[in-house]
Amino acid sequence: MIVLEKRPQPSRAWSLMTPVVAVVITMIAGGLLFAALGKNPAEAIGTIFWEPLFGEYAFFYRPQLLVKGAPLVLIAIGLSLGFRAGIWNIGAEGQYIVGAICGAGAGLAFYPMESVFIFPLMVLAGALGGWCWAMIPALLKVKFGTNEILVSLMLVYVAEQLLASVSLGLLKNPQGFGFPGSRNLQSYESAFNAELIEGSGMHWGVVAAFIAVILSYVLLNKHILGFNIRLTGEAPRAARFGGVNPTRLILFCLGMSGMLAGLAGMFEASGPAGQISIDFNVGYGFTAIIVAFLGRLHPVGILLAGLLMALTYIGGEIAQSNLGLPAAAIQVFQGMLLFFLLALDLLTNFRIRFAAKGAA
């Protein structure tokens, strides 16, 4: 009979190993899934994980890794702060949308004026938009004890409707021949979040993601606020006795994650996407939840996990066009990853013993 024995301390080795093992198991299970769909599993896995990095057209796909990874990392860093303290913001998708609308809106308000101040203003507007959207669940939780999970999620649907509304109305391109969607910011120099180095995929959002990783590392390891976040997550009672103010913590964690998600949305709208349109959001806010867990809620881990998840997006697109693998298969693949990760986490906190029945 299998007996679980709680470890006195979570195992560090397993904590580092589980994401790797989870990825390997997901590849195997994913291979089985692809085989069930009638594809050659080895070829499909190879296309997803090898082709974008080392394949014939890798020069084209490698920059994409940064473009797709940046919003994931940016959002996941914010989410991880809250997740560590047991504050569950799962509405990052909504904050991402609102940040994009506010950022792009701020830029479009000045069209066609050219100025170096426009882009920084858009960054501020995007951050503020995401922050405000996240403050709704935060304030409701603080004031009324409302469940932040449900409120933040409901606000995703509200944000999606808002997005539809502005792309058909307020921000619609007056010269767009009646098509929904805003002006293309890529052709508006002052508002365009262009590549900093030609052909590298490096835009301001990527820079922001790297800065966020570093700052959150410093925050969690060197600052009293980061310590309080970790303490609240690991020992809520001790945190209460230690005088940690839960209200401040909720406002900070939700506000921060909203701000980062808003920034991610703004950088996406002004750069790779180029415009606000009805189908502007592609679920980065939800995938970032997987990224945050896969990265063990650790800044460096999240950076690596974000790049890996970006790889599955890009590889998935290649597999879609080359092998005819359905887009949903990649979504299932990403979902499976989170399952295996959560299941394997058992090994971090518990020791598995095989004991004779009756002995336990």
Partner: protein, 306 residues
């Protein structure tokens, strides 16, 4: 704008149809939460139930088999959740989210060949004379069997929780799992059964959308109903009859906003479409002042050693 085009009798009849998926999912989740488990994967189980039921009823031509398949589909997916939270002792919030993300992907994958297909229709109740009565007929006596089953299920869950031994054990497990364990009840077993029941209910609710309410298959067609069901359980303070009331209320709001859209009210469509979600938030705010009715062990991990 022409509000006179809205027929109150039809409004109430369609309100009951709109409320049923919500009711089924929320009653399932109520039982799960009463056992002390918070399963945030309702949306995922609903959408998998929706496509499982749709696919099976299209292939076999029998709506009944489809509904059964949907229940099995939802329960199978909830097995994953049960394994993660009860045996691998994973965080319930994270596992529930995983279930939803996975379910949305899985349903999109399964549903590829079914876009634009029409499912076989479910027969509605048709009692001579009674179903043809004005007002009462369309409201009470001419729906599909699943709608009546939803009401029956509410009554059954209410009765089971209040008057039976099973209900007592379930509530004990949810209120204080350590005490229940000390009394010799199998906490894990009770919870796994509750989770499976919740999965089956959510699956049935999902299939009700794809087979009866809409009836067709589109990706992500549950559109947050699973999450509203979760909110509904809080709204109802974990009481079955209040779930029914809440479901009809939300169903009413949804039907009303659709009717207002159709009637061409001066409010933009997007703002009407976001109203059910906004109202859910408002209701949550009002109801969450009272925390006393939540099961004591809700969301806590049980392990016999600790």
């Amino acid at each position: 704008m022409d509000l006179s085009a809205i027929n109150p009798v039809l409004l109430i009849a369609s309100l009951m149809v709109a409320a049923t998926p919500l009711l089924l999912a929320a009653i399932g989740e109520l039982v799960v939460e009463k056992s002390g488990v918070l399963n945030l994967g309702v949306e995922g189980m609903m959408i998998v139930g929706a496509i499982a039921g749709f696919a099976v009823s299209v292939e076999t031509g029998s709506p009944l088999l489809g509904l059964i398949a949907a229940m099995i589909g939802g329960a199978l997916l909830s097995c994953l959740f049960a394994f993660l939270t009860q045996f691998a002792l994973a965080n319930q919030v994270a596992s529930g989210l995983a279930l939803t993300l996975f379910g949305l992907g899985l349903s999109a994958l399964m549903g590829q060949g079914y876009v634009g297909v029409k499912p076989p229709a479910m027969a509605t109740l048709d009692i001579p004379v009674i179903s043809d009565l004005p007002v009462i007929g369309p409201i009470f006596f001419s729906h599909d069997p699943v709608l009546y089953f939803g009401v029956f299920l509410t009554a059954a869950v209410w009765y089971a929780l209040k008057f039976t031994r099973i209900g007592l054990v379930l509530r004990a497990t949810g209120e204080n799992h350590d005490a229940a364990h000390a009394l010799g009840y199998h906490v894990i077993r009770v919870r796994v059964i509750a989770i499976l029941f919740g999965g089956a209910c959510a699956g049935l609710g999902g299939a009700y959308i794809s087979l009866i309410r809409v009836p067709q298959w589109t990706e992500g067609m549950t559109a947050g109903i699973g999450w509203i069901a979760l909110a509904l359980v809080v709204f109802a303070s974990w009481k079955p009859w209040r779930v029914l009331l809440g479901a009809y209320l939300f169903g009413g709001i949804n039907v009303l906003q659709l009717n207002l859209q159709a009637a061409g009210v001066a409010i933009p469509v997007e703002y009407l479409a976001m109203s059910p979600y906004v109202i859910t938030i408002v209701v949550l705010v009002i109801m969450s002042r009272d925390k006393t009715s939540a099961p004591g062990s809700l969301g806590r991990i049980f392990h016999a050693s600790s």
